[in-house]
């Protein structure tokens, strides 16, 4: 029995694509295991103590909103980076994932600064990469599939030796539609273009974060298995659809 705290960064600005579903999923899966889960929203200018939280979640937004977020987040960049180095579980989707890199080059050539945590560059190009996507990942120590939906104009390139991709694209576009990889992983941080939302249909990914949260609290790394029939059905339904499309 423990009380976990997840910080939801800029929910007013970065909330495209049903991102809320990722938080609902983490919260329920903690509750079903007898824990409490408190989610609190952090807006522009609001305080955040990275030492007092168990996880950070940040979703996607439109270009205008991403600019506002960058301006605020850059002020706390050092504390955020230290927390990532200290194995804080972090999930960044879409726009939030792009912000972790050096820069984002918009369609008109304008260069928007990123937080610069990693040597990642995103360039916008046509057409948008849209559709259902199937990945294979070894995030949880064994090969599992991940299903989701991607919708991004940006082509993201990982040029950083420290990073691994989140997964290998089985079907879909991924980071840039070229190198066959999707997302990034560093310590307990995952950046990805997958929404749908990501976690409810991929319970093993949700449990990766829960295990990481538990481990940082010095709790056992084995967590109670849950009865995931509905989640597995949904996962398989999409997987089948993607493989047969």
């Amino acid at each position: 029995m423990a009380r976990f705290t997840i910080a939801h960064l800029y929910p007013d600005l970065m909330n495209l694509y049903g991102d809320r579903g990722n938080l609902v999923c983490l919260q329920k899966r903690l509750q079903w295991r007898g824990h409490e889960c408190h989610i609190y929203s952090v807006g522009i200018g609001q305080n955040i103590d990275f030492g007092a939280i168990d996880m950070v979640f940040m979703g996607g937004g439109s270009d205008r909103e991403q600019g506002l977020v960058y301006g605020d987040l850059i002020k706390r960049a050092d504390a955020f980076r230290q927390a990532i180095e200290a194995d804080l579980p972090v999930l960044c989707i879409c726009g939030a994932y792009q912000l972790l890199g050096e820069s984002y080059i918009a369609a008109d050539g304008q260069r928007l600064q990123g937080l610069g945590f990693f040597n990642i560059v995103t360039r916008v190009a046509q057409p948008r990469l849209i559709g259902n996507i199937l990945l294979e990942t070894d995030l949880v120590g064994q090969k599992t599939t991940v299903v989701g939906f991607e919708n991004h104009g940006g082509r993201t390139f990982l040029n950083d030796q420290r990073l691994k991709p989140f997964g290998r694209v089985v079907k879909g576009h991924g980071n840039n539609g070229q190198d066959g990889f999707e997302g990034m992983k560093y310590r307990n941080l995952v950046g990805t273009y997958l929404h749908g939302p990501l976690l409810p249909k991929n319970p093993s990914v949700a449990d990766f974060f829960i295990k990481a949260m538990a481990a940082r609290r010095g709790m056992s790394s084995t967590i109670t298995p849950l009865y995931d029939t509905i989640e597995t059905f949904a996962h398989q339904q999409v997987k089948y659809k993607i493989l047969n499309s």
Partner: protein
């Protein structure tokens, strides 16, 4: 000329054949006609003597344009009007051809063209419309248009420099950029304060930021979603004064309200339909139609297929509702939760192009309301191509897992729902499953109709 006649003839044959097979044939006929004669839509649209009115926006296009059509018919006018779901250029061409004669010489008084936001600009290249009605902007089918900002920009760029009047929702802050960016003359419709307003809003809300200066806007009150009384503390942007003001709104059982000085009553339900009525009445009054004609037409106008349509299967009542985005979904859930009887609920989620290929939007709808103690859910059947996503959604909304069943095929799924322990049935469906659901309900309604016993006199 010969080319035009051939195109019309081919399209009319396709329309007839597909009707015989029970399809609407709405898209193919227009596509073939445009292929045979690329100028056909332009030619036919030039036969409209009065005005061409385009209706766009996220929700309420179909209901609003149907209401305007009803009012125009009641006024004795001839009207070309495309069908719901056939609202791209092909479908609109079909509508004109279906109403035309072979030589394309027939004239009409009005054309009412409902279309998606992204299609406004291409449509304006074909037809000389002088009025554009926008219902509202909500989050819908992101995968088709990109993001909401882009949707609004598409319209703004599409109308700029044209001779067209905009009819805008005065309660939607997302529309406040349009008059500034386009410089066009605008008419506004909107509601005064109503007893249903709230001070806070839990809906997934768009447009928290001022369209003019980018600062966060503030609200005095919300009608629903982002519609309400707003102002920007930075630049002073606020609701424009409505030319057509809805007041004295009352939503019990039906809708009654005053629009300026005209009192109307409608058999519809729900605040969102009150907006549809307000918009339809505003445009009609703007065209100079008499109050008495409008009042009468609104009073007689009945809900359409899938817009709270009722069926009776044996002794059980079933209500069919179309859902297509979070705001509409929330409004539908609100309406069914106002029914305090125990209920079997059927939720069909498809992910075809017309539904939106991205099903993430169901997570922005307040399905948590189904898990509340008073919801009275006896059984919940998830169906459609993405039945799994819907089932996961309701599970994480907190609905008792024992009540959730998955049956992807619509027919057995509807039958399963109807045989549940609930007193009433609510059948909710996304667009591409709606007509199949309706067919199944009509068939079951006929099968279970009480047989007539004839006695010899």
């Amino acid at each position: 000329m010969l080319r035009t006649i051939v195109a019309i003839m081919a399209a009319k044959i396709i329309i007839n054949v597909s009707r015989r097979f029970g399809n609407q044939g709405t898209v193919l006929a227009g596509r073939v006609a445009l292929w045979l004669d690329p100028g056909i839509l332009k030619k036919l649209a030039a036969r409209v003597r009065g005005q061409i009115i385009i209706i766009t926006g996220t929700n309420g296009k179909t209901t609003t344009s149907n209401m305007i059509a009803q009012i125009l018919h009641a006024n004795g006018n001839s009207v070309v009007h495309n069908q719901a779901g056939a609202n791209m250029l092909n479908g609109i061409t079909t509508a004109f051809i279906a109403a035309s004669n072979l030589t394309a010489s027939r004239h009409w008084d009005y054309a009412l063209l409902e279309t998606d936001e992204a299609n406004v600009a291409p449509l304006l290249n074909e037809v000389n419309a002088r009025q554009l009605l926008i219902t509202n902007f909500f989050r819908d089918q992101l995968d088709r248009f990109g993001e909401l900002d882009r949707t609004i920009r598409l319209i703004s760029e599409g109308v700029k420099g044209r001779n067209i009047r905009l009819w805008l929702n005065a309660d939607d802050p997302l529309m406040t950029g349009l008059p500034v960016e386009t410089g066009l003359s605008c008419s506004y419709y909107g509601f005064a304060a109503t007893p249903y307003d709230t001070l806070h809003n839990q809906d997934s809300r768009e447009g928290r930021y001022c369209m003019l200066c980018g600062e966060e806007i503030e609200y005095q009150s919300f009608h629903f979603a982002q519609l309400g009384a707003f102002y920007c503390p930075n630049c002073g942007n606020t609701n424009p004064v409505p030319d057509y003001l809805g007041s004295d709104l009352q939503l019990d059982h039906n809708i009654t309200m005053k629009i300026n000085n005209l009192e109307v009553t409608s058999p519809y339900q729900g605040f969102y339909n009150a907006y549809n009525i307000l918009a339809a009445v505003a445009v009609s009054k703007g065209m100079g139609i008499a109050d008495a004609v409008i009042r009468e037409a609104i009073a007689r106008f009945q809900p359409q297929a899938g817009r709270m349509e009722r069926f009776t299967v044996g002794s059980k009542e079933a209500t069919l509702i179309l859902v297509k985005n979070p705001t509409g979904f929330n409004q539908s859930l609100q309406a069914l939760l106002n029914d305090h009887r125990s209920k079997n609920l059927f939720l069909a989620l498809n992910d075809n192009a017309a539904d939106g290929r991205d099903v993430s939007w169901i997570w922005d709808a307040d399905l948590e309301s189904l898990a509340s103690a008073g919801a009275g859910i006896s059984l919940l059947v998830c169906s459609g191509l993405r039945s799994g996503d819907m089932a996961v959604r309701v599970k994480y909304a907190g609905v008792d897992q024992e009540l959730i069943q998955i049956e992807s095929d619509l027919d057995p799924a509807i039958q399963k729902a109807l045989s549940g322990p609930g007193k009433v049935n609510y059948i909710l469906s996304t667009y591409t499953a709606l007509f199949q659901c309706r067919k199944i309900l009509l068939r079951l309604q006929a099968e279970y109709a009480p047989s007539v016993v004839r006695e010899r006199a």
